[in-house]
Symmetry: C2
Subunit: 326 residues, 2 copies
DNA sequence: GTGAAAGCGCTAACAC
DNA sequence: GTGTTAGCGCTTTCAC
């Protein structure tokens, strides 16, 4: 690998001048050309490691998400990447599995790699995030709240949960259950509170099922609901994958919406049928990503205003009404 | 941030000794303890940038995939990550969009970041891969062939294409079309050759449709096929997302397999119905990832044997036969 | 076994 | 506008 000294020697200038050319400082045109030619001839690529050691920062953004196999998060990642790319930053994707240990590890890595900033969908405790913020590294929370005074970009989960439930009520359903995610995850709690806001406190306790946030969780919960003595006539799932699981179970049981009402918070990924019968709350996944990236880039650029919270709107598409002809 | 000098001072030893303790060289037990205590008290985290600049390598693996929103590639990424994690390596995920320019850029970054190695699903030309291999950086190709003498882990695409097609023949279909990906992408070509092996050369030319590798590509191609004067009675799609698109169009047209036979190469992600009627070739996405990671880690560890090519098996699940009762 | 010192490739003062 | 020089934090000879 050619170094800056090789380029300097070939161009007949000092390494400092080469550095200046590369970083856009003022250099006389002819020397600049000399340097550029030499660099091209030697296929010179600046060593980012050395640059970073010296300048204590890099054009790297860490994005910590709980599940890379969930299309909601990959769409979000896409948003972050698009925005970062425009600004000349690269994105490092890290899978936390909602495991605070992994999350902490990646946060430490972000530090010891001198990354420019971190965007994360926080798993559980806030303590670990301090690993990053305490060292002055910009951190933006996305999709989930934290107790910390940092920038966040969110959806109003309670409103979303209520809207999904209300759509079912308006479609004529009366016994509406809720499949919620793990109680530990912020957001899922909020969404089921929204459901509660609409169904009221007299809904049976077992109409609220907690499950993991994946397809199998949705399956299990739906099976439980179907086995209930007073079976619900509709269900809200608080994320996309649990919605998939619930629909799978219904399909296997020969039940087709709107025979039983289904509202999904999130988009049904890659559905191979037209989900007209199903109410979907389309979460702005990609937009969450671009917004978070924009906020982070602002901070990296030196923005010092107090922490902001941006709440993005979700859009609802209504499913069929109860008992509608199919 | 505490440095190695701070730790050394606190422990009353030289920085060299601290480094030795951290890297497992032989140090007297008492000094080792002193160092460890000091490091803990100072919350010392080694600076990876400095370490890398000095030692010219890192515990970072770059994984270049064409589409982070395709579940096939995220499953593959999962495999890589699991294996890398075990070995103490971190994975940097990069989205190439099948764009050779982006691919080259990331390859350059892998170099200038002194990454330990690269795993990639190559987009188009081989020339760019040289950017990495020429500098002695280990590179493993996954899912797609290259013309270069490097490790690869693949599926036998021609065999897979033929198997999917043969399953449709055996299910009683006679006019089998093929929705193939972009001609430029290796693998897609192979899969359609496998289709050709089975349908023979007298299949109508317009039964082979090229489309982009995404859902909308599958939709377009399926629409074209349905509009054909001699409409096919079955279709093979050469990847998962195009399969989703094709099924969407069929569903909208009121056509349900096995009325028209469908074979998908890849898994139908998150299907909300039981896809019994559909033939699927289950590609070992995750296993491709773990295998590629294992090979790369071997190389990083100094393995110098000639380039290997590993071919993984795919498993086929048969759909319903033509005209089967539903 | 341990310390002193050089140096990885770059940037940023500081002189000129 | 340009060159000289120090130093980012670490690892690794080389002596002892």
């Amino acid at each position: 690998m050619a170094t800056i000294y090789d380029v300097a020697a070939r161009a007949g200038v000092s390494p400092a001048t080469v550095s200046r050319v590369l970083n856009g400082a003022t250099v006389s045109p002819e020397k600049a050309r000399l340097v550029r030619d030499a660099a091209a001839e030697l296929h010179y690529t600046p060593n980012r490691t050395a640059r970073r050691l010296r300048s204590q920062n890099s054009e790297l953004i860490a994005l910590l998400i709980p599940d890379i196999e969930n299309p909601f998060f990959t769409a979000l990642a896409r948003g972050v990447e698009d925005r970062a790319q425009q600004a000349g930053f690269s994105v490092v994707l890290c899978n936390t599995d909602d495991d605070p240990v992994k999350e902490t590890r990646y946060l430490d890595i972000a530090n010891s790699e001198d990354m420019a900033g971190v965007i994360l969908a926080p798993s559980a405790t806030d303590g670990d995030i301090r690993h990053a913020t305490d060292r002055g590294r910009p951190v933006v929370a996305v999709d989930r709240k934290t107790g910390l005074p940092i920038d966040s970009v969110l959806v109003d989960n309670r409103v979303v949960g209520a809207a999904a439930t209300r759509a079912l009520v308006e479609a004529g359903y009366e016994r509406i259950a809720c499949i919620a995610g793990p109680a530990a995850i912020e957001g899922t709690e909020e969404r089921s509170l929204g459901w509660r806001d609409v169904v009221g406190s007299n809904a049976p306790a077992n109409y609220l099922q907690h499950a993991n946030y994946r397809v199998d969780g949705g399956r299990e919960a739906m099976l439980t609901l179907l086995a209930l003595p007073e079976r619900p006539d509709a269900v809200v799932t608080t994320n996309n994958l649990m919605g998939v699981g619930a629909l799978q179970v219904l399909s296997e049981a020969g039940i087709t919406p709107p025979e039983l009402g289904v509202a999904v918070i999130g988009d049904l990924p890659f559905s191979t049928f037209s989900p007209d019968a199903i109410t979907q709350v389309h979460l702005p996944a990609r937009h969450l990503g671009t917004t978070a990236a924009t906020m982070l880039l602002d901070r990296i650029a030196g923005d010092r205003q107090p922490p902001r919270t941006v709440v993005l709107r979700a859009e609802l598409t209504r499913g069929a009404t109860r008992g509608a002809a199919r």
